[in-house]
Amino acid sequence: MPEGFISNLYVFLLAGFLGFEVIRRVSPLLHTPLMSLTNALDAIVVVAAIIIAARPGTTLSEILGAIAVAAAFSNMVGGFLITDRMLRMFKLSGRKKP
Protein backbone atom coordinates (compact mmCIF):
# COMPACT_ATOMS: atom_id res chain seq x y z
CA MET A 1 0.00 0.00 0.00
CA PRO A 2 1.47 3.36 -0.98
CA GLU A 3 2.54 5.81 1.65
CA GLY A 4 -0.21 8.03 2.96
CA PHE A 5 -3.10 5.93 1.63
CA ILE A 6 -4.80 5.48 4.98
CA SER A 7 -4.41 9.11 5.99
CA ASN A 8 -5.73 10.17 2.57
CA LEU A 9 -8.72 7.92 3.14
CA TYR A 10 -9.39 9.64 6.49
CA VAL A 11 -9.15 13.01 4.80
CA PHE A 12 -11.47 11.92 1.98
CA LEU A 13 -14.06 10.61 4.41
CA LEU A 14 -14.03 13.71 6.61
CA ALA A 15 -14.01 16.12 3.67
CA GLY A 16 -16.88 14.20 2.08
CA PHE A 17 -19.02 14.47 5.23
CA LEU A 18 -18.04 18.08 5.78
CA GLY A 19 -18.85 18.93 2.17
CA PHE A 20 -22.20 17.20 2.50
CA GLU A 21 -23.12 19.17 5.63
CA VAL A 22 -21.93 22.53 4.30
CA ILE A 23 -23.41 22.17 0.81
CA ARG A 24 -26.74 20.84 2.08
CA ARG A 25 -27.31 24.31 3.52
CA VAL A 26 -26.84 26.11 0.21
CA SER A 27 -30.22 27.49 -0.88
CA PRO A 28 -31.63 26.10 -4.17
CA LEU A 29 -31.61 29.74 -5.26
CA LEU A 30 -27.83 29.49 -5.58
CA HIS A 31 -27.46 26.00 -7.03
CA THR A 32 -26.03 27.26 -10.33
CA PRO A 33 -23.34 29.44 -8.68
CA LEU A 34 -22.65 26.51 -6.33
CA MET A 35 -21.83 24.32 -9.29
CA SER A 36 -19.58 26.89 -10.93
CA LEU A 37 -17.81 27.65 -7.64
CA THR A 38 -17.10 23.99 -6.87
CA ASN A 39 -15.79 23.67 -10.45
CA ALA A 40 -13.40 26.53 -9.81
CA LEU A 41 -12.25 25.01 -6.50
CA ASP A 42 -11.85 21.60 -8.14
CA ALA A 43 -9.54 23.26 -10.67
CA ILE A 44 -6.91 23.18 -7.91
CA VAL A 45 -5.70 20.09 -9.82
CA VAL A 46 -3.76 22.76 -11.71
CA VAL A 47 -1.07 22.56 -9.00
CA ALA A 48 -0.51 18.89 -9.79
CA ALA A 49 -0.44 19.70 -13.50
CA ILE A 50 2.14 22.46 -12.97
CA ILE A 51 4.41 20.04 -11.12
CA ILE A 52 4.11 17.43 -13.91
CA ALA A 53 4.72 19.96 -16.67
CA ALA A 54 7.67 21.72 -15.05
CA ARG A 55 9.47 18.77 -13.46
CA PRO A 56 12.16 16.97 -15.45
CA GLY A 57 10.28 14.11 -17.09
CA THR A 58 9.61 12.82 -20.55
CA THR A 59 8.44 14.83 -23.54
CA LEU A 60 5.05 13.13 -23.17
CA SER A 61 4.73 14.11 -19.50
CA GLU A 62 5.62 17.71 -20.28
CA ILE A 63 3.12 17.99 -23.14
CA LEU A 64 0.25 16.27 -21.32
CA GLY A 65 1.08 18.24 -18.18
CA ALA A 66 0.94 21.53 -20.08
CA ILE A 67 -2.44 20.65 -21.63
CA ALA A 68 -3.71 19.76 -18.16
CA VAL A 69 -2.44 23.10 -16.83
CA ALA A 70 -4.36 24.98 -19.55
CA ALA A 71 -7.57 22.96 -19.05
CA ALA A 72 -7.57 23.27 -15.27
CA PHE A 73 -6.53 26.92 -15.21
CA SER A 74 -9.29 27.89 -17.65
CA ASN A 75 -11.75 26.35 -15.18
CA MET A 76 -10.22 28.21 -12.29
CA VAL A 77 -10.31 31.60 -14.03
CA GLY A 78 -13.68 31.10 -15.75
CA GLY A 79 -15.30 29.46 -12.73
CA PHE A 80 -14.49 32.23 -10.24
CA LEU A 81 -15.34 34.90 -12.81
CA ILE A 82 -18.78 33.58 -13.68
CA THR A 83 -19.65 32.74 -10.08
CA ASP A 84 -18.93 36.30 -9.02
CA ARG A 85 -20.86 37.68 -12.00
CA MET A 86 -23.88 35.57 -11.12
CA LEU A 87 -23.79 36.48 -7.46
CA ARG A 88 -23.59 40.18 -8.28
CA MET A 89 -26.92 39.79 -10.10
CA PHE A 90 -28.80 38.51 -7.05
CA LYS A 91 -30.43 41.55 -5.47
CA LEU A 92 -33.21 42.20 -2.99
CA SER A 93 -36.28 44.30 -3.85
CA GLY A 94 -35.89 48.02 -3.56
CA ARG A 95 -32.21 48.03 -4.48
CA LYS A 96 -32.10 49.15 -8.07
CA LYS A 97 -28.96 48.77 -10.05
CA PRO A 98 -26.97 51.99 -10.40
Binding site: N8, V22, N39, I44, V45, G78, G94
Partner: protein, 468 residues
Protein backbone atom coordinates in the same frame (compact mmCIF):
# COMPACT_ATOMS: atom_id res chain seq x y z
CA UNK B 1 12.73 27.34 -9.05
CA UNK B 2 14.75 27.81 -5.91
CA UNK B 3 14.83 31.58 -5.88
CA UNK B 4 14.56 31.88 -2.13
CA UNK B 5 17.61 29.79 -1.33
CA UNK B 6 15.60 27.78 1.19
CA UNK B 7 16.34 24.11 1.55
CA UNK B 8 13.97 21.44 0.28
CA UNK B 9 12.38 20.58 3.65
CA UNK B 10 11.58 24.20 4.45
CA UNK B 11 9.98 24.69 1.05
CA UNK B 12 8.03 21.46 1.51
CA UNK B 13 6.68 22.64 4.87
CA UNK B 14 5.74 26.03 3.44
CA UNK B 15 3.95 24.44 0.48
CA UNK B 16 2.07 22.02 2.71
CA UNK B 17 1.10 24.83 5.02
CA UNK B 18 -0.18 26.99 2.18
CA UNK B 19 -2.23 24.07 0.88
CA UNK B 20 -3.81 23.63 4.31
CA UNK B 21 -4.71 27.32 4.36
CA UNK B 22 -6.14 26.95 0.84
CA UNK B 23 -8.30 24.02 1.98
CA UNK B 24 -9.60 26.02 4.95
CA UNK B 25 -10.46 28.87 2.61
CA UNK B 26 -12.24 26.51 0.20
CA UNK B 27 -14.45 25.20 2.99
CA UNK B 28 -15.21 28.75 4.17
CA UNK B 29 -15.94 29.66 0.59
CA UNK B 30 -18.66 26.99 0.33
CA UNK B 31 -20.00 27.84 3.78
CA UNK B 32 -20.45 31.49 2.83
CA UNK B 33 -22.20 30.49 -0.35
CA UNK B 34 -25.17 29.35 1.74
CA UNK B 35 -26.71 32.84 1.69
CA UNK B 36 -26.77 35.46 -1.08
CA UNK B 37 -25.68 38.05 1.51
CA UNK B 38 -22.29 36.40 2.18
CA UNK B 39 -21.84 34.51 -1.10
CA UNK B 40 -19.56 37.00 -2.83
CA UNK B 41 -17.22 36.97 0.16
CA UNK B 42 -17.17 33.20 -0.36
CA UNK B 43 -15.91 33.63 -3.93
CA UNK B 44 -13.20 36.00 -2.73
CA UNK B 45 -11.78 33.60 -0.11
CA UNK B 46 -11.94 30.80 -2.67
CA UNK B 47 -9.88 32.92 -5.07
CA UNK B 48 -7.35 33.79 -2.38
CA UNK B 49 -7.01 30.12 -1.41
CA UNK B 50 -6.55 29.01 -5.02
CA UNK B 51 -4.05 31.79 -5.78
CA UNK B 52 -2.04 30.95 -2.66
CA UNK B 53 -1.85 27.28 -3.60
CA UNK B 54 -0.84 28.02 -7.20
CA UNK B 55 1.83 30.58 -6.28
CA UNK B 56 3.51 28.45 -3.61
CA UNK B 57 3.63 25.52 -6.04
CA UNK B 58 6.10 27.52 -8.12
CA UNK B 59 8.62 27.46 -5.23
CA UNK B 60 8.91 23.69 -5.49
CA UNK B 61 12.67 23.19 -6.17
CA UNK B 62 11.98 20.09 -8.28
CA UNK B 63 10.53 22.31 -10.97
CA UNK B 64 13.05 23.31 -13.60
CA UNK B 65 11.43 24.51 -16.80
CA UNK B 66 8.57 26.92 -16.80
CA UNK B 67 8.16 28.04 -20.39
CA UNK B 68 5.36 25.54 -21.16
CA UNK B 69 3.65 26.10 -17.85
CA UNK B 70 3.54 29.84 -18.40
CA UNK B 71 2.25 29.43 -21.95
CA UNK B 72 -0.35 26.91 -20.71
CA UNK B 73 -1.47 29.31 -17.95
CA UNK B 74 -1.84 32.02 -20.56
CA UNK B 75 -3.86 29.72 -22.84
CA UNK B 76 -5.99 28.71 -19.85
CA UNK B 77 -6.71 32.36 -19.07
CA UNK B 78 -7.49 33.14 -22.72
CA UNK B 79 -9.97 30.25 -22.84
CA UNK B 80 -11.31 30.73 -19.32
CA UNK B 81 -12.11 34.44 -19.38
CA UNK B 82 -14.64 34.27 -22.27
CA UNK B 83 -16.13 31.16 -20.63
CA UNK B 84 -16.61 33.28 -17.52
CA UNK B 85 -18.40 36.00 -19.46
CA UNK B 86 -21.10 33.98 -21.24
CA UNK B 87 -24.79 34.93 -21.11
CA UNK B 88 -26.85 33.32 -18.37
CA UNK B 89 -28.87 31.38 -20.98
CA UNK B 90 -25.61 29.65 -21.98
CA UNK B 91 -24.61 28.74 -18.43
CA UNK B 92 -25.71 25.07 -18.66
CA UNK B 93 -23.44 24.35 -21.64
CA UNK B 94 -20.64 26.40 -20.10
CA UNK B 95 -20.92 24.31 -16.96
CA UNK B 96 -20.81 21.09 -18.99
CA UNK B 97 -17.70 22.39 -20.80
CA UNK B 98 -15.98 23.16 -17.51
CA UNK B 99 -16.77 19.63 -16.31
CA UNK B 100 -15.12 18.40 -19.49
CA UNK B 101 -12.00 20.52 -18.88
CA UNK B 102 -11.80 19.42 -15.24
CA UNK B 103 -12.09 15.77 -16.21
CA UNK B 104 -9.55 16.21 -19.03
CA UNK B 105 -6.96 17.77 -16.73
CA UNK B 106 -7.34 15.05 -14.10
CA UNK B 107 -7.34 12.22 -16.65
CA UNK B 108 -4.22 13.55 -18.41
CA UNK B 109 -2.32 13.74 -15.14
CA UNK B 110 -3.32 10.15 -14.36
CA UNK B 111 -2.18 9.02 -17.81
CA UNK B 112 1.14 10.81 -17.38
CA UNK B 113 1.69 9.21 -13.97
CA UNK B 114 1.19 5.78 -15.53
CA UNK B 115 3.88 6.37 -18.15
CA UNK B 116 6.26 7.88 -15.60
CA UNK B 117 5.86 4.98 -13.17
CA UNK B 118 5.98 1.90 -15.41
CA UNK B 119 7.59 -0.59 -15.29
CA UNK B 120 8.05 -0.18 -11.53
CA UNK B 121 4.40 0.41 -10.72
CA UNK B 122 2.82 -1.50 -7.83
CA UNK B 123 -0.52 -3.30 -8.16
CA UNK B 124 -2.08 -0.85 -5.75
CA UNK B 125 -0.91 2.19 -7.70
CA UNK B 126 -2.16 0.59 -10.89
CA UNK B 127 -5.64 0.12 -9.39
CA UNK B 128 -5.75 3.76 -8.32
CA UNK B 129 -4.52 5.09 -11.64
CA UNK B 130 -6.82 2.86 -13.68
CA UNK B 131 -9.89 3.94 -11.69
CA UNK B 132 -8.89 7.57 -11.96
CA UNK B 133 -8.25 7.43 -15.68
CA UNK B 134 -11.43 5.45 -16.48
CA UNK B 135 -13.74 7.81 -14.56
CA UNK B 136 -11.87 10.89 -15.77
CA UNK B 137 -12.01 9.83 -19.43
CA UNK B 138 -15.70 8.91 -19.42
CA UNK B 139 -16.57 12.16 -17.62
CA UNK B 140 -14.61 14.08 -20.24
CA UNK B 141 -16.47 12.73 -23.29
CA UNK B 142 -19.76 12.51 -21.38
CA UNK B 143 -19.53 16.19 -20.51
CA UNK B 144 -18.63 17.09 -24.08
CA UNK B 145 -21.75 15.30 -25.33
CA UNK B 146 -23.85 17.03 -22.66
CA UNK B 147 -22.43 20.41 -23.73
CA UNK B 148 -23.13 19.58 -27.40
CA UNK B 149 -26.74 18.71 -26.59
CA UNK B 150 -27.24 21.86 -24.53
CA UNK B 151 -25.72 24.02 -27.27
CA UNK B 152 -27.98 22.14 -29.72
CA UNK B 153 -25.07 21.03 -31.84
CA UNK B 154 -26.37 17.56 -31.11
CA UNK B 155 -30.06 16.58 -31.01
CA UNK B 156 -31.57 17.14 -27.55
CA UNK B 157 -33.86 14.15 -27.83
CA UNK B 158 -32.67 10.82 -26.45
CA UNK B 159 -30.91 8.76 -29.12
CA UNK B 160 -31.65 5.13 -28.45
CA UNK B 161 -31.48 1.79 -30.15
CA UNK B 162 -32.41 -1.73 -29.19
CA UNK B 163 -30.13 -3.45 -26.70
CA UNK B 164 -28.33 -0.16 -26.03
CA UNK B 165 -27.80 -0.75 -22.33
CA UNK B 166 -26.23 -4.17 -23.00
CA UNK B 167 -23.83 -2.68 -25.53
CA UNK B 168 -22.91 0.18 -23.18
CA UNK B 169 -22.26 -2.14 -20.27
CA UNK B 170 -20.16 -4.44 -22.44
CA UNK B 171 -18.01 -1.45 -23.33
CA UNK B 172 -17.64 -0.44 -19.68
CA UNK B 173 -16.88 -4.08 -18.85
CA UNK B 174 -14.12 -4.07 -21.48
CA UNK B 175 -12.52 -1.02 -19.85
CA UNK B 176 -12.65 -2.67 -16.41
CA UNK B 177 -11.22 -5.89 -17.85
CA UNK B 178 -8.36 -3.97 -19.44
CA UNK B 179 -7.72 -2.34 -16.07
CA UNK B 180 -7.66 -5.73 -14.33
CA UNK B 181 -5.15 -7.15 -16.82
CA UNK B 182 -3.00 -4.03 -16.36
CA UNK B 183 -2.95 -4.56 -12.59
CA UNK B 184 -1.26 -7.92 -13.06
CA UNK B 185 0.72 -7.02 -16.13
CA UNK B 186 1.13 -3.23 -16.22
CA UNK B 187 3.30 -3.11 -19.33
CA UNK B 188 1.03 -5.11 -21.68
CA UNK B 189 1.56 -3.33 -25.02
CA UNK B 190 -1.22 -0.99 -26.13
CA UNK B 191 -3.52 -2.06 -23.32
CA UNK B 192 -3.38 1.20 -21.37
CA UNK B 193 -4.18 3.43 -24.37
CA UNK B 194 -6.91 0.94 -25.31
CA UNK B 195 -8.41 1.31 -21.84
CA UNK B 196 -8.40 5.10 -22.24
CA UNK B 197 -10.07 4.93 -25.65
CA UNK B 198 -12.73 2.49 -24.44
CA UNK B 199 -13.49 4.75 -21.46
CA UNK B 200 -13.80 7.77 -23.76
CA UNK B 201 -16.21 5.77 -25.90
CA UNK B 202 -18.25 4.75 -22.87
CA UNK B 203 -18.66 8.42 -21.88
CA UNK B 204 -20.21 9.12 -25.28
CA UNK B 205 -22.50 6.11 -25.01
CA UNK B 206 -23.54 7.05 -21.47
CA UNK B 207 -24.84 10.54 -22.26
CA UNK B 208 -26.06 10.22 -25.89
CA UNK B 209 -29.28 8.40 -24.92
CA UNK B 210 -30.23 11.03 -22.33
CA UNK B 211 -32.71 13.72 -23.33
CA UNK B 212 -32.56 17.47 -22.77
CA UNK B 213 -35.10 17.52 -19.95
CA UNK B 214 -32.90 15.18 -17.89
CA UNK B 215 -29.84 17.41 -18.26
CA UNK B 216 -30.12 18.92 -14.74
CA UNK B 217 -29.52 15.48 -13.24
CA UNK B 218 -26.86 14.50 -15.77
CA UNK B 219 -24.87 17.70 -15.26
CA UNK B 220 -25.00 17.20 -11.49
CA UNK B 221 -23.91 13.56 -11.83
CA UNK B 222 -21.02 14.48 -14.15
CA UNK B 223 -20.06 17.17 -11.65
CA UNK B 224 -19.81 14.52 -8.97
CA UNK B 225 -17.74 12.22 -11.26
CA UNK B 226 -15.31 15.05 -11.94
CA UNK B 227 -14.96 15.63 -8.20
CA UNK B 228 -14.39 11.93 -7.66
CA UNK B 229 -11.71 11.94 -10.36
CA UNK B 230 -9.87 14.79 -8.64
CA UNK B 231 -10.09 13.00 -5.29
CA UNK B 232 -8.74 9.78 -6.83
CA UNK B 233 -5.93 11.79 -8.37
CA UNK B 234 -5.20 13.04 -4.87
CA UNK B 235 -4.75 9.40 -3.81
CA UNK B 236 -2.50 8.70 -6.80
CA UNK B 237 -0.29 11.71 -6.11
CA UNK B 238 -0.63 11.55 -2.31
CA UNK B 239 -1.91 15.13 -2.36
CA UNK B 240 -4.41 16.01 0.34
CA UNK B 241 -5.43 19.30 -1.21
CA UNK B 242 -6.71 17.36 -4.22
CA UNK B 243 -8.44 14.79 -2.03
CA UNK B 244 -10.31 17.54 -0.16
CA UNK B 245 -11.19 19.66 -3.21
CA UNK B 246 -12.33 16.53 -5.06
CA UNK B 247 -14.42 15.34 -2.10
CA UNK B 248 -16.09 18.76 -1.80
CA UNK B 249 -16.84 18.94 -5.53
CA UNK B 250 -17.97 15.31 -5.58
CA UNK B 251 -20.34 15.68 -2.64
CA UNK B 252 -21.75 18.89 -4.11
CA UNK B 253 -22.51 17.21 -7.42
CA UNK B 254 -23.97 14.23 -5.62
CA UNK B 255 -26.29 16.36 -3.45
CA UNK B 256 -27.50 18.27 -6.51
CA UNK B 257 -28.11 15.04 -8.42
CA UNK B 258 -30.18 13.69 -5.52
CA UNK B 259 -32.18 16.95 -5.34
CA UNK B 260 -32.85 16.77 -9.09
CA UNK B 261 -33.89 13.11 -8.99
CA UNK B 262 -36.25 13.73 -6.08
CA UNK B 263 -37.78 16.65 -7.96
CA UNK B 264 -38.59 14.27 -10.80
CA UNK B 265 -39.50 11.32 -8.60
CA UNK B 266 -36.99 9.18 -10.47
CA UNK B 267 -33.89 7.17 -9.63
CA UNK B 268 -30.34 7.60 -10.95
CA UNK B 269 -30.69 4.35 -12.88
CA UNK B 270 -33.89 5.53 -14.46
CA UNK B 271 -32.36 8.84 -15.55
CA UNK B 272 -29.22 7.21 -16.93
CA UNK B 273 -30.76 4.20 -18.61
CA UNK B 274 -34.46 5.02 -18.90
CA UNK B 275 -34.33 7.11 -22.13
CA UNK B 276 -37.19 9.20 -20.80
CA UNK B 277 -39.89 10.39 -23.16
CA UNK B 278 -39.00 8.11 -26.01
CA UNK B 279 -41.93 5.73 -26.06
CA UNK B 280 -44.87 8.00 -25.34
CA UNK B 281 -44.55 10.09 -28.49
CA UNK B 282 -46.31 7.62 -30.73
CA UNK B 283 -49.22 7.09 -28.33
CA UNK B 284 -50.44 10.66 -28.30
CA UNK B 285 -51.40 10.76 -31.99
CA UNK B 286 -54.85 9.36 -31.31
CA UNK B 287 -56.80 11.69 -29.07
CA UNK B 288 -60.15 13.32 -29.53
CA UNK B 289 -60.46 17.03 -30.13
CA UNK B 290 -60.85 18.89 -26.88
CA UNK B 291 -61.68 22.52 -26.51
CA UNK B 292 -59.29 25.03 -25.07
CA UNK B 293 -59.94 28.61 -24.07
CA UNK B 294 -57.66 31.14 -25.63
CA UNK B 295 -57.09 34.78 -24.80
CA UNK B 296 -55.50 37.78 -26.48
CA UNK B 297 -52.76 39.94 -24.93
CA UNK B 298 -55.41 42.61 -24.15
CA UNK B 299 -57.58 40.15 -22.24
CA UNK B 300 -54.58 38.69 -20.44
CA UNK B 301 -53.35 42.15 -19.47
CA UNK B 302 -56.77 43.12 -18.12
CA UNK B 303 -56.98 39.99 -15.97
CA UNK B 304 -53.43 40.41 -14.67
CA UNK B 305 -54.03 44.08 -13.84
CA UNK B 306 -57.15 43.31 -11.83
CA UNK B 307 -55.52 40.47 -9.87
CA UNK B 308 -54.17 40.85 -6.34
CA UNK B 309 -51.65 38.05 -6.51
CA UNK B 310 -49.88 36.60 -9.53
CA UNK B 311 -47.53 33.65 -9.54
CA UNK B 312 -45.28 33.27 -12.57
CA UNK B 313 -44.00 29.74 -13.27
CA UNK B 314 -41.06 29.95 -15.68
CA UNK B 315 -39.54 27.03 -17.56
CA UNK B 316 -36.94 26.28 -20.20
CA UNK B 317 -39.20 27.85 -22.87
CA UNK B 318 -38.68 31.24 -21.23
CA UNK B 319 -34.92 30.81 -21.58
CA UNK B 320 -35.21 29.68 -25.21
CA UNK B 321 -37.37 32.69 -26.10
CA UNK B 322 -35.07 35.02 -24.11
CA UNK B 323 -38.22 36.37 -22.49
CA UNK B 324 -36.78 37.01 -19.01
CA UNK B 325 -36.16 40.73 -19.54
CA UNK B 326 -39.71 41.30 -20.79
CA UNK B 327 -40.97 39.29 -17.83
CA UNK B 328 -39.10 41.65 -15.52
CA UNK B 329 -40.76 44.65 -17.24
CA UNK B 330 -44.12 43.00 -16.65
CA UNK B 331 -43.16 42.50 -13.00
CA UNK B 332 -42.31 46.22 -12.68
CA UNK B 333 -45.56 47.41 -14.28
CA UNK B 334 -47.73 45.05 -12.26
CA UNK B 335 -45.93 45.90 -9.02
CA UNK B 336 -46.55 49.58 -9.72
CA UNK B 337 -50.23 48.76 -10.11
CA UNK B 338 -50.21 47.13 -6.68
CA UNK B 339 -50.27 43.52 -7.86
CA UNK B 340 -48.19 41.14 -5.77
CA UNK B 341 -46.10 39.13 -8.26
CA UNK B 342 -43.96 36.17 -7.29
CA UNK B 343 -42.10 33.49 -9.22
CA UNK B 344 -42.51 29.82 -8.38
CA UNK B 345 -39.36 27.90 -9.27
CA UNK B 346 -39.48 24.16 -9.81
CA UNK B 347 -36.12 22.50 -8.99
CA UNK B 348 -35.80 20.93 -12.45
CA UNK B 349 -37.13 23.90 -14.45
CA UNK B 350 -34.47 24.70 -17.05
CA UNK B 351 -31.43 22.73 -18.02
CA UNK B 352 -29.34 22.76 -14.84
CA UNK B 353 -29.89 23.13 -11.10
CA UNK B 354 -30.85 26.73 -10.29
CA UNK B 355 -30.98 27.76 -13.96
CA UNK B 356 -34.20 29.82 -13.65
CA UNK B 357 -32.89 31.70 -10.63
CA UNK B 358 -29.78 33.00 -12.40
CA UNK B 359 -31.77 33.87 -15.53
CA UNK B 360 -34.25 35.94 -13.55
CA UNK B 361 -31.48 37.45 -11.43
CA UNK B 362 -29.72 38.50 -14.64
CA UNK B 363 -32.93 40.25 -15.69
CA UNK B 364 -32.87 42.11 -12.34
CA UNK B 365 -35.74 40.24 -10.74
CA UNK B 366 -35.07 40.57 -6.98
CA UNK B 367 -34.40 37.18 -5.44
CA UNK B 368 -36.96 37.69 -2.66
CA UNK B 369 -39.58 37.40 -5.42
CA UNK B 370 -38.39 33.86 -6.21
CA UNK B 371 -40.02 31.16 -4.13
CA UNK B 372 -39.45 27.42 -4.05
CA UNK B 373 -41.96 24.81 -5.13
CA UNK B 374 -43.36 24.00 -1.67
CA UNK B 375 -43.91 27.67 -0.79
CA UNK B 376 -45.51 28.25 -4.18
CA UNK B 377 -47.90 25.35 -3.66
CA UNK B 378 -48.98 26.50 -0.21
CA UNK B 379 -49.74 29.99 -1.57
CA UNK B 380 -51.48 28.66 -4.66
CA UNK B 381 -55.10 28.59 -3.37
CA UNK B 382 -54.82 32.31 -2.55
CA UNK B 383 -53.30 33.09 -5.95
CA UNK B 384 -55.53 34.90 -8.45
CA UNK B 385 -53.51 34.15 -11.56
CA UNK B 386 -50.85 31.53 -12.19
CA UNK B 387 -48.96 32.49 -15.34
CA UNK B 388 -46.97 29.63 -16.86
CA UNK B 389 -44.22 30.75 -19.23
CA UNK B 390 -42.44 28.05 -21.17
CA UNK B 391 -42.91 25.39 -18.51
CA UNK B 392 -44.84 22.23 -19.24
CA UNK B 393 -44.21 18.97 -17.40
CA UNK B 394 -43.46 20.69 -14.07
CA UNK B 395 -47.06 21.99 -14.01
CA UNK B 396 -48.77 18.88 -15.41
CA UNK B 397 -51.57 17.76 -13.04
CA UNK B 398 -51.37 14.27 -14.58
CA UNK B 399 -48.35 13.79 -12.30
CA UNK B 400 -50.79 13.81 -9.37
CA UNK B 401 -53.84 12.14 -10.85
CA UNK B 402 -53.01 9.86 -13.77
CA UNK B 403 -51.32 6.66 -12.64
CA UNK B 404 -50.63 5.76 -16.25
CA UNK B 405 -48.68 8.94 -16.93
CA UNK B 406 -44.92 8.55 -17.32
CA UNK B 407 -44.42 11.44 -14.89
CA UNK B 408 -46.87 10.09 -12.29
CA UNK B 409 -45.55 10.88 -8.80
CA UNK B 410 -43.33 13.75 -9.87
CA UNK B 411 -43.83 16.75 -7.56
CA UNK B 412 -45.27 19.65 -9.55
CA UNK B 413 -46.16 23.29 -9.07
CA UNK B 414 -49.92 22.93 -8.66
CA UNK B 415 -51.01 25.85 -10.82
CA UNK B 416 -54.41 24.17 -11.26
CA UNK B 417 -55.14 25.23 -7.66
CA UNK B 418 -54.94 28.91 -8.58
CA UNK B 419 -58.17 30.79 -9.41
CA UNK B 420 -57.11 31.39 -13.02
CA UNK B 421 -54.34 29.77 -15.02
CA UNK B 422 -52.68 31.33 -18.04
CA UNK B 423 -50.23 29.39 -20.17
CA UNK B 424 -48.00 31.06 -22.73
CA UNK B 425 -47.09 28.44 -25.31
CA UNK B 426 -46.33 28.31 -29.02
CA UNK B 427 -48.91 25.63 -29.80
CA UNK B 428 -50.67 22.69 -28.23
CA UNK B 429 -47.83 20.36 -29.16
CA UNK B 430 -46.72 18.38 -26.13
CA UNK B 431 -43.45 19.37 -24.51
CA UNK B 432 -40.14 17.64 -24.70
CA UNK B 433 -41.28 14.42 -23.10
CA UNK B 434 -44.27 14.15 -25.43
CA UNK B 435 -46.63 13.89 -22.48
CA UNK B 436 -50.13 15.29 -22.86
CA UNK B 437 -50.94 18.04 -20.36
CA UNK B 438 -54.59 18.04 -19.15
CA UNK B 439 -53.97 21.46 -17.62
CA UNK B 440 -54.63 23.05 -21.01
CA UNK B 441 -58.16 21.71 -21.26
CA UNK B 442 -59.58 22.66 -17.86
CA UNK B 443 -62.10 25.46 -17.62
CA UNK B 444 -60.06 28.01 -15.73
CA UNK B 445 -57.08 27.72 -18.05
CA UNK B 446 -56.51 30.30 -20.77
CA UNK B 447 -54.03 29.48 -23.47
CA UNK B 448 -51.98 32.41 -24.70
CA UNK B 449 -50.61 31.16 -28.00
CA UNK B 450 -47.44 32.79 -29.27
CA UNK B 451 -43.76 33.36 -28.71
CA UNK B 452 -43.12 33.95 -25.00
CA UNK B 453 -41.08 37.10 -25.52
CA UNK B 454 -43.49 38.64 -28.05
CA UNK B 455 -46.54 37.78 -25.97
CA UNK B 456 -45.18 39.13 -22.70
CA UNK B 457 -44.07 42.26 -24.47
CA UNK B 458 -47.63 42.76 -25.87
CA UNK B 459 -48.99 42.32 -22.34
CA UNK B 460 -46.55 44.95 -21.07
CA UNK B 461 -47.63 47.31 -23.86
CA UNK B 462 -51.29 46.83 -22.94
CA UNK B 463 -50.57 47.35 -19.25
CA UNK B 464 -48.63 50.57 -19.76
CA UNK B 465 -50.97 51.90 -22.48
CA UNK B 466 -54.22 51.02 -20.76
CA UNK B 467 -53.17 52.20 -17.33
CA UNK B 468 -52.99 55.92 -18.07
Amino acid sequence: MNITGMDLTTVQYLTDFSYIVAIAFFILSLKWLSSPATARRGVLVGEIGAALAVVTTFFNPELVHFQWVLIALLVGAIVGIPLGLVQMTAVPQRTAMSHAFGALAAALIGITEYYLRIPNITKFEMVEIAMEVIIGSLSFTGSLIAAGKLQEWLPQRPIVYKGQNYVSFTVLGAAVLAALILVFSPTTPFLFPAMVVISLLFGVMLVTPIGGADMPTVIALLNSYVGLTAALLGFVLNSKVLVVAGALDGSSGFILAVVMCKAMNRSFTNVLFGAFGQLQVSAKAVQEERTVHTATPEEAAAILASANTVLVVPGYGMAVAQAQHKVREMLDVLTKKGVDVKFGIHPVAGRMPGHMNVLLAEADVPYDKLIEMDAANSEMPQTDVALVIGANDVTNPAAKTDQGSPIYGMPIIEVDNARTVMVIKRSLNPGFAGIDNPLYYIDKTMMLFGDAKAFVSSIVKELTGGGE
